[in-house]
Structure formats: structure tokens, C-alpha cells
Amino acid sequence: MQFLAPYALVGFLLALPIVAFYILRVRLRRREVATLMFWQEAFQQRRLTAWWRRLRHLLSLLVQLMLLSLLVLAAARPLLPWEDKQRRDWSLVLDNSASMSTRTRGDSTRLERAREQARKWLSRLPEDDRIAILVTAPRPHVVCSFTTHRPTLRKALRRIAPTAAPARLRRAIALARSLTSDPQRHRVVLFSDGCAVDGQRVQPAEDLWIEPIGSAEDNVAITRLAPRRSYLDPRQLQVLIEVHNYSRSPRRITVELDLNEHPIDVMPIELAANGHWRTVQEYLTDEGGVLTARIDDGGALPADDRAWAVVPALRKLEVHLVTQGNLFLEKVFEAMANVQLSVSATLPQHIDRQAVVVFHRRVPAQLPANPTIVIDPSNDCSLWRLGGEVHQPLVATSQSSHPLMAHVRLDQVLMPQARRLTFTQPATVLASTIEGEPLYALVERTGGDVLVLSANLDESDLPLRTAFPIMMANALAWLTHQSPDGNVATPTGRLAEFPWPDGVSGQLVAVSPTGRRMRVTRIASDRGAFGPVDEVGVWSVRLANEQQGARTKRLALIAAVLDEPRESNVLATWTDKRFDSPGPPTRFGGRSTWWYLALAALALGTIEWYLYQRRWLA
């Protein structure tokens, strides 16, 4: 026999004072009375013999010792061999992902029903069985490690909050399995609706029991909201919206679009059953801020009825072109709405540190510490040595995945002449000839990166191609860290990254849409991150030491959306009968030995009190 709380056996020491009191008590109290004549008359009817009195005392001692033994043994929580054999460790895994916020018929959400189911398991599982509680989102983690203390487990259950993050059930199950060193007696119970990234790959097993939660429900979700500024006209805001109907019937809904809470568009749409709708809309605005898309009557899951994105405001870029004269270059920058262009033959003495300097042909030996673009260089500088001419270069390779080459195709461009470059510093070649000569390269340096295009624009048809303004727009966006694509919303369940605000060195926190604060980590000199993000909406980054509730400065805004169709598709809920678990196992009486011992102690105490009241016991 084992004891789960062997230290309680120290309680047997209490037998010493009990025996001591017994020895003291058997010596009768002496009481002087005025006369014995009435007492003797009273005793005549029932007089206890001396031997019975002694036996009565002994019996009383035995009852008290027995009572103590029962209480001490109950406190030590004995585990009988057959009980030990049947004892199990249970990991209750609750899916608290976005789909579990689906409201079923009635008012309760799937998570509330899962919590109720788990509570039933807690009350029915044998009391000696250890139980741990885990959740799946925003990442699988343990909310209560193995314990037999039911109030702690119930408290942990109550604390589980719904999230808007997707679930990874297999990772959660693997984490649960890793909690125990004895897999034979370990069982995992998964309370989930099966709407998860890997829901289709989860199957019941000997050690994995599934409690399916919920039934198939209709839902309509905004699955994408992507704004960006037009490459051709940055004042144009292009917005990609995608809506999916995860319903068994066609739906007619309205999509509303707001910018900074001002409506900018309302679109009534019709969606076929399990169909989707996608559109790109353009809006003319310099304004930046929070773009919100929402649908009415979005179905059972509210988390995907709205989507957010942060749109950068249009900022004027100062570009200084140093050239002896090139109409193409002047016109391409003049055509950009967000560019303020100045042209000179030589580099001015004073130039703003943020301004982009464009050199055409002639470059100084030491380039200025500004973001710089060099077109067709004609002399050496500190970054490269100029080689001979390359005739009829053909673009063989281009890094189309690089942001600088986004939407830029150079394979059909004629470039009769270019200059051979040998870089004195590491450079990223974005486009090169068959011989490997760099045509377009990036040199990263502190103060401002340098982009070099070695082609002769006067001889090439590149300025006549649409690739050229896109190439220059990409170059300006790269050099000024202003992407035309805007800030893509962070999918829930992932880390949110953002550019570290200039001039801020203190600790930052991210404040969720509901006001929760999350610590921000600086992952690079110019990047910060926090997460995993578990709420949809707009998170704001602020200084940690600013008082809560005070009017605080928002250093960055990050939109978070539910970007997981398998969470939005609450039609695909587990309804297969094979998922049904056999329910919590029951043991004889359903109670542990300590409970019966405590009950026996209570009964014995009651009997003793009854007998004591009638003076049958001392």
C-alpha cells in the first residue's frame, strides 16, 4: 500500500496526548457533597460496576484511537494496490481556438460547452487520478499541471479564455503526451470541434479520446483584406477584399469598408453555397490609418466578420537628381505623386539626410551618407571599380522574390550597353548578365543603402517599359522603408513584427483591442515583435512605463485578423460517431479510500458523541 501524502502519518503522534489524557482521566474527580443520602437513593436504580466503568474508559480510549487512526489514514491518502493499478493520468486538452467561439443554438459557445464537458469529466474521474489541463491556442500550453486537487483544476478551467487564434491540435496532443513518463497509464482527452489547421489528421487512439463539441454551423468570413498604394499613382489606394461563404445555402450580405471609422464603400454581394467573392477596389486618398472591412449577418462565428489593415499615409519623398540632363529620369520621378524632385548638375553642399540622391553617370569618389541610386556610373567610387563596357548584355537572372524586383520583368528589355562593375564591398546582385556581370545591385551600408543600375539608359528601351517606373518606385520604397503594400495584417496565432520606432530605446508593450498588455521584444536593431497574437483587431505599441488609461502615444499600429479558413469553416465540425469517447471511466463507488476512511471517522465520531451523551462512553 502506498500513501499519496505520507507526511500526514505524523498525525499518529497525537495518540500520545490521547493516551496521556486517558491515564489522567481514569483518576476520578473527587467532589465533596453535603450528604450522600440522596445520591445513594439516586444510584440505587442504576449503578455501574467498577469493572464496567474501567472497561468503559478503555472502550472510550479505543474509540478515540480508532477515530484518530481513521483520520490520519484518510489524511495520508492511502492507495491500495488495486487502486494503484487502476490509477490514470489524464490530460484534458481544450480547444480554445477561434472556431470554439462559435455560438451554437442557444446562447453558449463551443468553448463554454467544452468547459462544461471537461467539468463533468473532473467530477466523474476517480479522485486519485491526476489530471492536467492544456489549451491549444494561441500556442499549445499547460494551464494546470498534474494534480488531484479538483478545486485547482476547476479554477484553471474557469480561467481558460477564448482566443481568435487557430488551433494546432496535433501539437497540443504531442505536448500532452510529453507530460508523463508513463504512457501506459496516461490518457489524453481532446475537447474540440475539429475546426483546426490539422483537424482532419487527428484520429482517436488508445491513449487519445475525443469529445467532439458542437454541430455544423453556417458562417460567412472575410478571408482577406489587403490594401496597398498603387505603384503608378501612390495616391490610389488599392484594396483587395475576399469573402467566403461556409454555408449550406446561398447568402446575400453587405460588405462595408471604413477608413478611420469613416465609411468609404458599401458593397452588397451574393454568395453561392460554399462560394467566395473577391474584388479589388481603388480609392483616391492620401490618408493613412486603420482600414476596416465588415460584413453583416456573418453567421455563427463573429471573429471573422471583421478584418483590419493598417494603411500608411502618403508621405512626400525628397529626391535630388544629379545629372547633366536625362529626360527619362526626370519624368519618371516627376510622375510619382509622392516625390518632390530637385535637379542639379552637381551635388549641393547641404542636403537633407532623409533625401534620396540619384546620380546619373558622374558620381563623387565618396558617396554621400544618403539613400542613393546610381544610374549608369561613369567613374569609380569607394564602393566599386568601373570596368570595361559590356555589349548587348542579356538579363539572365533576376531575383524576382526581392522586394526591389517586385513586379519588375527585365527579360525582354533591350540594353545595348552597360558597364562592368567590381564591388569593393559585399553587394546583392538583383539582376545580372549571362556572364554574371551585375546589372542591378544593392550595396547595404549604414546611413543609406546604394542601388546601382549599370545600363546606359540613353541606349536602352528600359525607360520606355512599364518595368522602369515600377523599378524606381520599388527603389524609393526600399530606400525610404515605405512599402507601397502597406502593413499586411498579422494572422492570429503568429508573432507580430513591426519596425522599431526611431529614437525609442525603452521597453515597449503591445496593447490588445480589449486592453490587455503584452511585452514587446526587440528582435533586431530596427524590428520589434510580440505575440503570439490571440485577438483580432488593431493592436497598438506603446511605451511600457506610460500609465494605463492615460492618453498615450501609439508608436505603431498592427492589425490582426483570423487568417485560417479551417477555423472559419465551422461547417466542418466533427460529427462522425467514431469520435465519440466512451466517457470518463467509473470505479467501484467512484471514491478513493481516504473518502471512505473519512466517512467512517465521521460515523464513528457521531456514534461516540451519541454514546457519550448517554454516558455509555466516558
Partner: protein
């Protein structure tokens, strides 16, 4: 409890008050102011009896002979001083836990003696336990009040048991003149009260029983296993006391008191039973009132 003093002014004022009340309201009905049953050559007519040869012709009722031709002799009360004997129990049981019971008994004795002396009766006090332990001789006149009170004040409790019969025997064997015997005691005598009172009655005394007890003796409340020790005989008894035993004890106590009252009713005696925590003057007034209504 304050130190008892029978000589302080307050106590004496109470005694005087009681004496006045006794004289004005209950005249001749409490103690010594009653006539004795002695028939003789008094002046107050008592009754008639038939003439017997040798009787004094002077007491023949000639008026009756003239009317009915019957010879009847007139009888008269003979006036005689009343003797009041106060037997005061000072045994160990009177001072078991404190001296309240004895102090109360002393106050009663003092008050009754005061009233008797004020009425010019003769008063004697005998303190007893297993046997007489102290005596105040037969005295007459109010001038002896202070010495009587001093005697009571200085009376110490005895360590011995109660023996009522021996105390009463000591009184009657001295061939004392008959009178009222006030027996103040708790009456915790294993031999009972009847033999002692019978003895007094046989010797033509008029006993008046005054039982003084503590409420805790009438209704004890302790329970559990105890060794009971009789404070007088030192006899021991080990027992377990529960509610049932207490109930039977109370019944036995009440039965004993009822026996005393029944005995006194049967023999036309006065009986007073009182706990020791009531004011003694109130008890005496009650006694006077009762005596008035009974008589």
C-alpha cells in the same frame, strides 16, 4: 460575601423591625405569646369537666347546676412563661463550600431569639453537630440580646456529622421545661429527622422545623465520573452521574422535603424549608404571615 456580623447596626435594626411587626400585626401568633396548654388556677376560663369526688367546690359551675342539675367543674388556663429552645445545627454540612448556610441559620436563630426575648419569654440556644457543642443558657429579658448575639456570632462550625436525635435527646434529658423547640438545620442526618422530632414530641415540646439548604444541594448540575465524598462521614462513592441520575437525585431531595412537610402536617407542627440565598427578614415575615393565616 461580606464578613457576617450579627452585632452591626443594620442587623439590629432589622431585628427590631421584625420584633415590632411580630408584636403589632401577629400578636400572640408566632412564638411565645401563645399560652401553654397547662390548665390550672388561672383567671382565664378554659372549659368544663364533670365533677369527681374530692374536687374543690369553689370551681363548681353553680349556674349550670341551677339550670340543668348537672355538676360541672370550671377549668382555667394557668399562665406560665413560655420556654423557647433554639437548636442550631453547626455541623460540617452547614459550611461545605462557604458559610452562607450557617450564617443564614445564625441570622434566623438571632431574629427568633430577639423576638422571644422582646416578649419576655425565656430563650435557650443549643448549637449541635454530632452532639451539643455550645449552649446559651436559658435567659429572659431584652437586656440579654447583645450577649445572645455575641454567642451566635462567635459560634464556630464543628467538624463532625449531624446527629439530630442526640441533640434533641440532650435537650429532653436535662428535664427542661416543655416549650417551643426551633430546630434549625439542613436535616442531612442519615438516621432521618423523625426519631429526633418524635423524641421532642414525646416530651411534650412543640417542635418547629426550619430546613436551610443550598440550591446546588437541591438541584446539582455536575455530570461525569466522580468520586463523591460525604463531607461529614467521609464516606465515598464512585459513580457516573448523568442526566438520569441527576433527575433521580432531585426527586429524592424533593421526596425528603415532602416527607418532612407531611410529618409536620400529620402532627400539627410548623415546618419551614428555605434556600440560604433569600433575605432572612423576608423569610421571617413570610413565616409570620403563614403563622397568622394558619392559626
Amino acid at each position: 460575601m461580606p464578613e457576617p456580623n450579627l452585632l452591626d447596626q443594620e442587623f439590629l435594626r432589622k431585628l427590631e423591625y421584625l420584633s415590632l411587626v411580630s408584636r403589632r400585626v401577629f400578636r400572640g401568633q408566632l412564638l411565645a405569646q401563645r399560652r401553654t396548654r397547662q390548665l390550672g388556677a388561672g383567671i382565664e376560663f378554659a372549659d368544663h369537666r364533670e365533677y369527681a369526688p374530692g374536687d374543690d367546690y369553689r370551681y363548681l359551675d353553680w349556674h349550670i347546676y341551677a339550670r340543668h342539675e348537672e355538676l360541672l367543674l370550671k377549668r382555667f388556663h394557668e399562665e406560665e412563661d413560655l420556654h423557647v429552645y433554639i437548636l442550631l445545627d453547626v455541623s460540617r454540612s452547614m459550611v461545605l463550600e462557604n458559610e452562607r448556610k450557617l450564617w443564614f441559620a445564625k441570622q434566623l436563630a438571632a431574629a427568633l431569639a430577639y423576638i422571644a426575648l422582646a416578649e419576655m419569654d425565656r430563650v435557650a440556644i443549643m448549637a449541635f453537630a454530632a452532639e451539643p457543642v455550645a449552649e446559651y443558657p436559658l435567659t429572659r429579658g431584652k437586656g440579654k440580646v447583645l450577649s445572645m448575639l455575641r454567642f451566635l456570632q462567635e459560634l464556630a462550625p464543628a467538624r463532625s456529622a449531624t446527629d439530630l436525635r442526640r441533640a434533641c435527646g440532650a435537650l429532653v434529658h436535662r428535664r427542661a421545661k416543655t416549650g417551643v423547640v426551633l430546630l434549625i438545620s439542613d436535616f442531612y442526618d442519615p438516621a432521618g429527622f423523625a426519631p429526633a422530632v418524635d423524641l421532642l414530641r414525646y416530651h411534650r415540646h412543640e417542635p418547629h422545623l426550619i430546613q436551610v439548604y443550598e440550591r446546588a444541594e437541591a438541584e446539582p448540575s455536575f455530570v461525569g465520573d466522580v468520586e463523591l465524598v460525604d463531607c461529614e462521614s467521609r464516606a465515598r462513592d464512585q459513580a457516573t452521574i448523568d442526566e438520569a441520575v441527576l433527575r433521580r437525585y432531585r426527586e429524592a431531595f424533593r421526596r425528603y422535603q415532602e416527607q418532612m412537610r407531611a410529618y409536620c402536617r400529620e402532627h400539627g407542627l410548623a415546618c419551614t424549608q428555605t434556600p440560604a440565598d433569600v433575605p432572612f427578614d423576608r423569610l421571617l415575615l413570610e413565616m409570620m404571615r403563614r403563622a397568622g393565616t394558619v392559626e
